[in-house]
Structures are given as C-alpha cells and as structure tokens.
Symmetry: C2
Subunit: 211 residues, 2 copies
C-alpha cells in the first residue's frame, strides 16, 4: 500500500506530520512525500522545509492521498497541475484525505460535491462554495473521503483511519508508541471553547485575508 | 529570541514538529533547525527529511534549545560534537528542553543531574543512570529544564512553555489556531491506559533493542 502526502509552498508542517506519524505506521505501507517538484518545500514561516522525494507525476496511483493545508493552499486552488493530479489520483485511490484547508483543495478539484466534510474552523464556510456540506466535527468520514479539522486534528484522523484499515489494536499500539495521551495546558482548542475575543479577532483577520 | 531545534539522523519527526508548531509561534522569535551538518536530515523511517538550515556551530547561543528523540538518539549518546554543543548552548540558554528520548541526550550531556525529568515511557528508567529523577508526568518543568514524554507530548510542552514566556492568552490563541482540541479515537496513549499485552510487547522489544 502506498501513502502519498502532498506538499506545496507555504503548507503547515503539523498538518502533514500528524498523519505521517500515525497513519504512516501502517504495516507494509510505503509513505512518500510528493510535490510538483522534488526537493525541499518550505512551510508558511519559511524556516521549516520538508523534502518532497518524488514528483506528483512519479506517484500517479497512491492507495491513500493525504492533502495538508496551510496559508499556501489559496494559490494552489488555481493550480491545474495539482488539481489534475488530485482528480487522477482520486480515481484509483482507496482513501482520499485532507487536514485543515487541504479539504478546500479536494473541494476545488471537484471531489467533495454532496459530501460531508470539515476543514480548519476559519475555513469551514468556504467548503459550501464547492457543494460540500461543512460539519464542525474533528474528523469526518464520508465514503472513502476523510477530512480533518485544523492542523493538529490530522493526528486524530491518522489514528482513526489506521484503525479502519489495520484494526483497532494496531491503532492503539501506534497511539501508545507515540504516547498520544493529550494533556493540553489550556482548553482553548476550538471556537466553542476558546475565549470569545480571540475567536472574534481571528475571524476578523481571516476575513481580511481570505475575501 | 532564538529557538534552536536540533536534528540528527533517525530522529522522530513529530518530536520536533510538535514544539515547532506551538512554541515556534512565539512572537518575535526566530526558529532555526540545526544539525551537525546543514541539509536534509532523515527520520527513523528514512522517508521523511527535514532540512537543517544551520550547523550547530553556527548557532552557539540559542535562547531556547529543543532536543527531539527517536531511535537515532542512541548513537548520539557518544557524539562529542552534539554533547559539547548542548553543554555550551545550555550555559547561556534561557530554556533547555526535550521531547521523548531527547531527554537522554540532555542527561548524557550532564544537564539533568538531580533534576526531575521525563522521557518516552519506554526510556524513562534510563534517566536514572545519569542522576536524573524520572517522573511519569507528561511535561516536567524543573528550573529552566523542560522535558516532555513520548513523541506527541511535545505539543503539550510547546503550549505550556509558550504560556510561561508569552502569557496564557497567547498560548490559547496558538491552541485555537492549531485547533488543538484532541479527540483521539482510542484511549491507549499511555502504559496505564493501553491494553496490557501491548505494553508488555513493547517493553519486551525495547529491552532487546536498548540493552
């Protein structure tokens, strides 16, 4: 089984590494980081680079597609190379997945029409433009499409999908090995739980950026 | 403020990226990935590479040192280049931190003598060899030393340390932006919670590898 994790300029690192470190521990699977060009791909801060070992063209038929998000997702919405690859890869994939605003790329490729899906809480409404049905859940399964909410949610998605494919016990073993027993020092990880003024500030900034 | 995240061959990616994505969002901080040599550094699976942008020698006085773990930690325990750098960097650092078996490297450098510290649950006992006091807590502060348990715990550490430095509200904003509202599909993230036979299997394998 082959897992392709897509990279693009100004992606968010944890979006990619969360599923990598969980789903990527699928037995007998090959995980490959892919991008339009091989070589280092910089995240939105520019101070982190993950290497794309293969081009998109070199990995046409992965069994599992993982698309992270990040500020760099916006220009990719008009990139025919990526969108064509997503459509072609999806035609033969077993699972097509995303983290954060990666779901907007799946949606822009026309893959989420009529499907329940999620995204970063700041981007959730944008899914509707493409005919998807946004839901505030952290991980959403709809057929072979699995979408996760913002950034860190890819860890939960990776474990959930690992459980579906390899069984609960294997997923539990990976949770134990990665010591995923979260104890956040605050309870501010969603717009429902965070201080209201922080939510409002981010919504205001986001409108300025995205519209 | 400068944050140096140390890379070495066969590190574990999430150990580094968890603190990166949280603590790295400290206002006005520069985060730099450092290693003995610049260029791509491969993790334990070989299919992920993060770029070290600067050599250890080029970053002698970071304000915050972050040392990840991973299977590649073992050979580093005898690497004078890394251990000397850790001692020198620690002499002027404001915070010296680790994730997973990174704490064994801090301990081997002689930095954790008499200090309470944690590590991956499979490596916890090894801290005692170096005069540290192991504790099963997920994130341990002892003076300027902050150690985190296995792999994913670096996210909790990053947020906790961010709160100490930049204030609770900034840390909550980062938690909200990274949507860190964990909902693991299983409750098997620690040896106390996971199925006992999985814990026993890992302990048996670990003894074989580490002793």
């Amino acid at each position: 089984m082959q897992i392709a994790i897509v990279l693009f300029d100004r992606f968010t690192a944890l979006d990619a590494v969360g599923p990598y470190e969980t789903l990527g521990r699928l037995p007998d699977a090959e995980t490959v980081f892919v991008a339009e060009h091989t070589g280092p791909v910089r995240n939105e801060s520019g101070n982190l680079a993950l290497t794309a070992d293969r081009t998109l063209a070199e990995v046409p038929h992965p069994d599992i597609v993982v698309v992270p998000g990040g500020p760099g997702q916006t220009p990719q919405m008009d990139n025919p190379v990526l969108l064509d690859w997503l459509r072609a890869a999806d035609a033969t994939s077993t699972w097509t997945t995303s983290v954060c605003t990666g779901s907007l790329l799946l949606a822009a490729a026309g893959l989420l029409g009529g499907r329940r899906a999620t995204s970063h809480w700041l981007a959730l409404d944008h899914l509707e433009r493409f005919g998807a049905e946004p839901t505030g859940e952290r991980v959403v399964f709809d057929g072979k499409y699995v979408t996760a909410a913002g950034v860190s949610s890819g860890i939960d998605m990776g474990l959930a999908l690992l459980g579906r494919i390899a069984g609960d016990e294997h997923a539990q073993a990976v949770q134990l090995l990665t010591e995923y027993d979260p104890q956040p020092p605050y309870d501010a990880g969603s717009p429902q739980k965070a201080p209201a003024h922080l939510v409002a500030e981010f919504r205001a900034k986001s409108r300025f950026i995205m519209e």
